[in-house]
Subunit: 314 residues, 2 copies
């Protein structure tokens, strides 16, 4: 029988003792000089050269962090930017991560309805079913935008049930401008983010989605702006995994992150992207490692895991 | 000087006297038997064969409707479903439509923040700037999801200003389940959809976005559930183009559509997808054209234009 996604994720977190995911968000202009100085990778304005550099960097990051973390979050936008060739590379990276026993969260934030949602679920969550592509695996989970309502999720939930995969619905995002919409109060006295959390909780208890740990395959993306908001959303989404972005670089503090976990340090996974993958740019790691960008990333990943382990009380 | 998107769209609508866009949402299982019976296009489970069929169909639909409508809406999901090869085809279709002087609305419903939003704007709205892809043009406008707030739009708005392009922000979608979230009341006594409309109106009046007709490059996707909702949203978005999906197949009536227009039949463009592109499946066209799927699509497009012209009071 196919294992529930939340169970798989919880097990993977427990094995590595790391409720952490690393975000693969490569940007050419921030790649290590040692890498982009190589022949063939050194022309930013050239599609082939810049894409090759971005992919080589991403592959190396995945290999560096694989021993320490249970999951990576790969954001499709950074590959869509290189058109269809970028998308080919994006699917290759999913294979690369899967081969290293990492859980792959595809950060695609799609949201559409009916047949269009079916097409997105086939493209971005299911394992490809077309001869000519059926040796590929899809990611383990995907981020989705719930603005369009339950219809937008249904085709994804079908894949969750049948293939043991998961979704994370955007509830509260980490960007400075999120509050303008997401913190607007509803007539019920909740923020829009909390209202979305309630819908996610409801969608998540449908048949075939709750695992043996009591957690649903339907999780949420939550970057609370303060501890009170974190507690409210944690309570509403009592049976959901929270994917928590924005720690550090985007201003989320340890107290807010701690409030996203359930007692015992379960129920949440915290993402770091730039603070780890571009660690070689930071004075603290630069001083220690100089031009050695790979050890800098490895060390930043280890530091991040240790930090979140402590925050989670694991 | 680059012409404002809303001005370009209004001019194109006036030239064809057709406030109409046709949605390119191809699904293999619905393609005409006369097309999928051809060698090389007849294996649904094979990536290459099914994608070739979907692309050939889409190209022919674009050519059929080009004389009658000012714009097509191409939904990326139906091409993403065929992985990177599908995306290559998707960009080819954008070129095909642009060469026929059609305004291209890329229905991608993206929404992310910061650097990720920049990557999406580069991938899906700007003309590609990378050597190796710089002979391509991007679409004229794109649909975006505003759940993440203004940050998600900013990189797109930069392209709107610099290159005369446009965005349509999701306000009220046409699916049955849309109401659960979008009709929730805020503390101010509006629906969430109306609150989003207010934000869109605010974002749309920023410097460099309003054209000589007084309309903004920032439009909205609006499929109101009743005439009152249509009127309220039309009023809030007084200076925006409304992209109206869902007429016919998805249950939106003539009265709701009429209420989306400004006096004189301006300010809105109505989309039809399945009712036109799969017209050969409908008894009324089947009876008239038999297996001749191309004349059926052409006639359905003409009928749709005539119908909306009347509804708009043009």
């Amino acid at each position: 029988m196919t294992e529930n996604f939340a169970d798989r994720l919880m097990d993977a977190i427990a094995r590595k003792k790391a409720p952490v995911t690393i975000g693969i968000d490569p940007v050419y202009s921030k790649l290590p000089p040692g890498l982009v100085g190589q022949a063939g990778l050194n022309r930013e304005a050239d599609l082939e050269s810049s894409l090759d550099a971005v992919l080589e960097f991403s592959r190396r990051v995945i290999r560096l962090v694989a021993p320490y973390v249970p999951a990576v979050k790969i954001n499709s936008a950074y590959f869509e930017r290189y058109l269809w060739e970028g998308i080919e590379g994006y699917y290759q990276l999913i294979q690369e991560a899967a081969e290293r026993d990492l859980i792959v969260i595809a950060d695609v934030k799609r949201g559409d309805v009916g047949h269009t949602a079916e097409a997105y679920a086939a493209a971005h969550l299911a394992d490809p079913d077309l001869a000519g592509a059926d040796d590929l695996v899809g990611p383990d989970a995907v981020t989705v935008n719930g603005y369009l309502g339950a219809d937008a999720l249904d085709p994804f939930l079908k894949v969750c049930r049948e293939d043991g995969k998961g979704v994370f619905v955007l509830v509260r995002t980490s960007n400075p401008g999120a509050a303008e919409f997401q913190n607007t109060m509803t007539a019920e006295g909740q923020t829009i983010a909390e209202h979305m959390a309630q819908l996610v909780a409801k969608w998540g208890v449908a048949d075939g989605l709750v695992g043996k740990n009591g957690l649903s395959s339907v999780g949420a993306v939550v970057a609370p702006r303060d501890v009170e908001q974190a507690k409210r959303i944690r309570q509403i989404l009592n049976n959901s995994m929270l994917l928590v972005p924005g720690f550090g670089a985007q201003g989320l503090g340890a107290a807010e992150v701690a409030a996203c976990f359930k007692p015992g340090g379960t129920g949440a996974i915290v993402n770091a992207s730039r603070s780890v993958i571009f660690a070689y740019e930071q004075p603290e790691y630069k001083q220690q490692f100089g031009d050695q960008w790979e050890p800098a990333i490895e060390k930043a990943c280890q530091d991040f895991v240790a930090q979140i382990r402590q925050v989670a009380g694991m």
